[in-house]
């Protein structure tokens, strides 16, 4: 589904990603772990071109997204993204947040989007918040709405950029629960997170990033039980 070849990204002289080759298949739940500054967020943001790679190619469903001839806006419609800071639109109600993109991009009529929005709100367990504004919600609720907003586009893959890092501890669970349900339904997911418990339970594959490369990868059982590199051992020693 997503095929990454020789991906490099530098900010000025500072090289953040130093050549990544990776293939993410349909239905996989890939969790990316690593210390801060290891490039995991940058890698994820390159996948939908929020960061422009310096070098390399990324194919999404067979289309090279780095090629400026291909319409990135069309491709992004199929890649949902959830941010650390939620980034809900504060001037719109929850329902308007969800409906905006499908309606403005003419993928759904107003009525279809309305129906979809209510359905998604049901799914993330917040049907009563349809007409609330984001500022009236807790962080956990906002992040659940953000997930619903991304799902409204019927994406083929969901990218999560540290979705629980900005949350109070007691709210982490409700967001992870939604993500777990999503995984069970077969959604392809790429998740950058510090929640090792989530990685262990949900991931089909875990990538450990260090200094701009994928230093080690495998199933969660392999990776957490038998880390090979010293780096990963040191990292796991700190977080587990």
């Amino acid at each position: 589904m997503i095929n990454v070849k020789g991906l490099k990204k530098a900010f000025g002289d500072h090289e953040v990603l130093c050549g990544i080759d990776e293939h993410i298949k349909k239905g996989e739940k890939v969790v990316i772990i690593g210390a801060s500054g290891s490039g995991k967020s940058t890698f994820l943001r390159c996948l939908n071109l929020l960061e422009q790679p310096t070098d390399g190619e990324i194919f999404f469903e067979g289309t090279n997204i780095c090629d400026s001839k291909n319409d990135i806006n069309k491709l992004r419609q199929k890649m949902g993204m959830v941010f650390q800071q939620f980034n809900l639109f504060p001037n719109m109600t929850v329902k308007e947040n969800i409906k905006l993109a499908p309606v403005k991009l003419k993928l759904m009529t107003e009525e279809e989007a309305e129906k979809k929005a209510l359905q998604l709100l049901e799914r993330v367990g917040l049907p009563e918040k349809a007409d609330a504004y984001p500022v009236q919600l807790s962080g956990g609720q906002q992040q659940r709405i953000a997930i619903a907003r991304a799902l409204a586009m019927n994406p083929d893959v969901m990218l999560f950029d540290e979705p629980t890092s900005a949350l109070d501890p007691e709210m982490v669970g409700e967001v992870l629960e939604i993500m777990r349900e999503l995984a069970d339904e077969g959604m392809t997911m790429v998740v950058v997170t510090h929640e090792m418990g989530f990685a262990r339970e949900v991931a089909t594959r875990v990538l450990f990033m260090d200094e701009g490369v994928i230093a080690e990868q495998g199933t969660p059982e392999e990776l957490f039980a038998n880390p090979k590199s010293d780096r990963l051992k040191a990292f796991l020693g700190k977080v587990l």
């Binding site: 800071q85 980034n87 809900l88 504060p90 001037n91 504004y133 907003r149």
Partner: protein, 260 residues
Amino acid sequence: MSILTFAKWIGEMAPDWVVALPESLQRLCFQFFQVFIYENRWQFFTDGLTMTFTVTIGALILGVIIGMIVAIVRSTHDSSRGKPNIILRFFNSICKIYVTVLRGTPLMVQLLIMGFVVMVPKGEVETVMCAIITLGINSGAYVAEIARSGIMSINAGQMEAGRSLGLNYRQTMTYIIIPQAFKNILPALGNELIALLKETSLVTVIALQDVTKAAQVIVSKTYTATIPYVSLAIIYLVLVIILTKLLGILERRLRASDKR
């Protein structure tokens, strides 16, 4: 047109209740009569006000359009990563020069140049156009900086969220960034609107009959300055107070999403 004297007014025209007043108040009433009522002179003020409104509204619309365009060019340029493309850099420097020149010279001088060098309007309609264009271009420079601060005050995450949903840059700007920016800049924009309304008084230098000119005409007809000019000040003050109230209402309505 003969000049009306105080003695003649008291003797022939004044109502009885005025005649019964002490002389100082009689004189005040006389001035008031002379300025507003005699020969229907209040019409100078109402005609002048119509002109003031026309110029203010025209300049406001033009200023906001120019200001938004300049602000979008400038902030798109500043927020693009790496080296922006040559066309954007070109327009950005044009916008910078525009803001520098228009903010760097007095509005009075700009009016004189537009009125007597560049446009040289003949007839009233052309003069009104000249005033609207000059004030609009001038106001645009200030609106541009205000709008730019508004756009830049919106968290970069909002743009990313919009783009990640598949909206393009223009759609994200239109549906997400600008509505939020507008709410943030409304107080500053209101300030600019009030300044604009008051600055229209300068259009007298290109011989436009606005409300300030009306007061000047009446002074020259009556040889009395107190009542016309104090009334003029009160007219502007009342207009500004009304505007302030209207802006307050708009601000409260836009703040609906901030309520917890």
